[in-house]
């Protein structure tokens, strides 16, 4: 069945998953539904000790068995030890057929590969995957179906009961003996625990895993004792060097700086750039550079940002300190400056994943965004974006908040260099679609800027500026004239993954990769 972004969703996948094909970014507005609820255990007896000596004990206490769904958060990014630690115990116990429901997985989780191969793990639900797990999924090693969800989409899936978590393991930089978790003050600080909040609320069993046990009560906490069954203290929950990097040096890559300048010029020439505007950006070189150049112009013109949202890095914190941002609202921290800031700056707030991006609550923060600055692996001529599947067909990225912020923001800007080696970023058709083009307004490349024709207002705004505005077809033609028109990747027949739209419909599927075959 052809969905609203023109992708063919096989009937058998619709049947097997019970999901509907994507019908448009706002098609489920006003939909009513009943929320799921966990089966929880009452802790009435004050003598109960929630502390357990090991992960294994926690698994046993939680009644681990074949076919269960375990959940994890990704606030420790590539420095995470918790997923591997828990899954190694599960593996040793000979448990099979586990579904991993993680807010994201990365290269840090390459050690899960043998567990995918031997059937310990048969389903993966994540924002995305990189490294060996991505390869395992793309090459058909995972028995079940991988489901890729945006950050907001994951919260929706859990709250609506599309996925029910049996046991949530929540890595906590600090925790007390009764389960109050904070993301600061420990050895492996990650700043916030935004994405783990929904797990704590909706999982049947919740286990806190910490390497820094602190005196009771650990306040103010991100996750409260009332949702926590057990606490396990381990040596290390993560590698601090990989959880948060030091302040990144601003890029010296002129191409990125050029795209950043285009981006800033675009932003300031829209009507949304006025006192109190709201803004979200990423951590790529161009994003950081555009934050810096935007800050300069804000200072010159005396314009303040009312809300800075999302994943936060040093440059945004600096603007907060300089009084150029009123409030930073944070769901993830990318460097030590951000972690420091959320812990100490009273105008830097932690929010939950639902508050951030869940499309099915009564209004997420993303809906209040004026601007979001995003990146993309590919953008097609209809402005659809792909941030999950590499141009070679391999799953190698994550949705993150991409579709959520794009759908929410008044002005969604995607920055992508026109060519990555020989691969054109602007193409006839994306290898996969993660973010519908109806939510993407502008694509900025090193060769020119294309505005979505749906946004005649923005096209009008840019008249009279010196920005190199062109059509997206012109960008594609330019790319093809340099590198040649790419052949579409030839996939196998088996569907190995579903790219879920944030509202729970299927925006695309990912098929098994196939060895390249010469025609002759």
């Amino acid at each position: 069945m052809i969905n609203a972004v023109g992708r063919d969703i096989p009937e058998e996948i619709i049947k097997a998953t019970g999901m509907q094909p994507f019908a448009g970014a706002y098609a489920r507005h006003n939909m009513t539904y009943k929320k799921d609820a966990p089966v929880v255990r009452a802790v009435i007896d004050p003598k109960e000790d929630k502390m357990l000596p090991s992960i294994k004990d926690a698994l046993v206490k939680c009644g681990i068995k074949d076919g269960m769904t375990l959940s994890f958060h990704h606030h420790f990014r590539e420095g995470d030890y918790v997923v591997n630690m828990v899954m190694e115990e599960v593996h040793k116990m000979g448990i099979k057929d586990i579904t991993i429901c993680a807010s994201s997985l990365g290269k840090a989780h390459n050690p899960l590969l043998p567990m995918i191969e031997d059937g310990t793990i048969t389903n993966i639900q994540s924002s995305g995957v990189r490294g060996k797990i991505g390869e395992a999924i793309s090459t058909g090693k995972l028995k079940g179906l991988a489901i890729m969800r945006s950050h907001g989409g994951r919260v929706r899936a859990i709250e609506s009961g599309d996925v029910h978590i049996d046991i949530a393991f929540i890595g906590a930089p600090t925790c007390d003996k009764y389960g109050n978790m904070r993301a600061n003050g420990g050895k492996s600080d990650c700043g916030v625990l935004s994405y783990a909040y929904v797990d704590a609320q909706y999982a049947d069993k919740v286990v806190a895993v910490t390497d820094t046990l602190v005196p009771y009560p650990n306040l103010p906490c991100s996750i409260s004792q009332v949702n926590v069954d057990y606490v396990v203290e381990v040596d290390e929950i993560g590698n601090p060097a990989k959880i948060a990097t030091g302040a990144a040096k601003p890029t010296t890559d002129v191409r990125k700086i050029m795209m950043a300048d285009y981006c800033t010029q675009f932003v300031i020439n829209t009507p949304y750039f006025k006192n109190g505007f709201s803004y979200q950006t990423g951590v790529g070189g161009a994003s950081i550079a555009s934050t810096i150049s935007l800050g300069k112009i804000m200072k010159e013109r005396g314009i303040k940002m009312g809300l800075g949202l999302g994943g936060i890095a040093g440059p945004m914190c600096k603007l907060l300190e300089e009084g150029l941002i009123e409030k930073l609202v944070d769901t993830q921290d990318f460097d030590l400056t951000a972690i420091e800031s959320v812990a100490h700056n009273p105008n830097h707030f932690e929010i939950t994943g639902s508050e951030y991006a869940n499309p099915m609550n009564k209004g997420a923060y993303v809906n209040q965004l004026d601007f979001v600055i995003l990146a993309s692996l590919e953008v097609d001529v209809n402005f659809n974006c792909n941030v999950v599947v590499g141009s070679d067909g391999m799953i190698t990225g994550a949705q993150g908040g991409h579709p959520d912020t794009a759908a929410g923001a008044k002005c969604t800007i995607v920055i992508a260099p026109l060519l990555q080696g020989r691969i054109p970023a602007i193409c006839d058709e994306c290898t996969a679609i993660t973010t519908p083009g109806e939510t993407v307004d502008v694509v900025i490349t090193d060769y020119g800027i294309a505005i979505n024709p749906r946004r005649q207002d923005l096209i009008e705004c840019m008249k009279g500026t010196k920005l190199p505005i062109c059509t997206i077809e012109e960008l594609r033609d330019l790319a093809y004239s340099i590198v040649g028109k790419p052949d579409p990747v030839k996939f196998g027949d088996r569907v190995v993954g579903v790219i879920e739209s944030r509202d729970g419909t299927i925006i695309d599927v990912v098929r098994q990769i196939k060895d390249y075959e010469w025609d002759d």
Binding site: T252, V254, R255, M258, L419, D446, Y447, K466, S481, I482
Partner: protein, 299 residues
């Protein structure tokens, strides 16, 4: 006359001709010229490989109006004659002679170009020459070099080798280059040629780069050699005329053009008589302003 003779050359960016990632789209950075290097940047055992790479780049990459200068190996090496052949066969815009020390050097290259032009059916005069002066001998011969050939559009100082020859080193103050710079500007202007300054290699010192560029602009240089795209915007900024300069230049050009059309030989701007000698400078100011995208008038 080849229209490239007097084209704008504020920035000339050096690129190793044999590095695919460098030569594929340097026009993105909008330098006025790129210099595809067959000489120092290319290892001795890759001289042949660099030529194949250069040839296809010249033939197949659309550099979008950026001047394609090729630096050939020195005349003291055995490589340069084949370098000239590939430059002509590939129809580059200009050939940069390294380590030029005399008018004879220029003529030797021109003679080799003529042979290649006949071989490949390329019109003589369509490919220009520039000369890099890299020694005291070369600098002292600046005048005869400038006057050696009508195909030669300009000379460039190559500072590294020159300071070695002087038995000094690059100090950062510019004092070691003071004489060469002054002399070369005079020699070039005297012969009606362009003149380009040496590279500034400390990429982290953008303030130093800006100051040096401001200085050489004031001295009369047309442009500067660039080693990294980071330097291009600053260089162009320095060479961008101020609003006041543009307004004045515009008045001069308009006044002279109008009066000349009427057959009048006396020109006045803002009530003051001006000399016709201001005209070329004013034209150049307008051109610089156009290149920088700051001129919105009708000239």
């Amino acid at each position: 006359m080849n229209p490239n003779l007097n084209r704008l050359r504020r920035s000339m960016m050096f690129l190793n001709a044999q590095k695919p990632s460098l030569i594929k789209d340097p026009y993105i950075y909008k330098p006025d010229s790129i210099m595809l290097d067959l000489e120092d940047a290319v290892a001795e055992n890759q001289k042949d490989a660099a030529r194949y790479s250069l040839y296809h780049a010249l033939k197949e990459i659309d550099y979008r109006g950026v001047e394609r200068v090729v630096r050939i190996n020195g005349l003291e090496t055995a490589h340069w004659k084949e370098d000239v052949r590939v430059c002509v066969a590939g129809r580059c815009d200009s050939i940069r002679i390294s380590k030029t020390e005399s008018a004879a050097d220029v003529l030797a290259v021109e003679a080799e170009m003529r042979k290649a032009e006949e071989e490949f059916g390329v019109e003589h005069g369509s490919i220009l020459i520039m000369a890099a002066l890299e020694s005291t001998k070369g600098v002292l011969a600046a005048r005869e070099i400038c006057e050696a050939s009508p195909l030669l559009f300009g000379i460039a100082l190559s500072g590294g080798d020159y300071t070695k020859d002087l038995q000094t080193s690059i100090s950062g103050t510019g004092v070691e280059f003071a004489w060469a710079r002054g002399y070369m500007v005079n020699a070039a202007r005297c012969a009606g040629k362009q003149v380009f300054d040496t590279v500034f290699t400390n990429l982290d010192d953008m303030e130093g780069f800006r100051k040096e560029t401001e200085m050489i602009k004031t001295m009369g240089f047309d442009g500067k050699s660039i080693v990294n795209p980071r330097q291009i915007a600053v260089c162009h900024e320095v060479f961008t005329p101020t609003e006041k300069e543009i307004i004045k230049a515009e008045k001069i050009v308009k006044e002279v053009d109008e009066k000349k059309a009427m057959g009048i030989g006396v020109f006045t701007v803002d009530g003051k008589m001006i000399d016709i000698a201001f005209y070329p400078g004013a034209k150049r100011t307008i051109e610089l302003a156009k290149a920088a995208g700051v001129y919105e008038g009708d000239l």
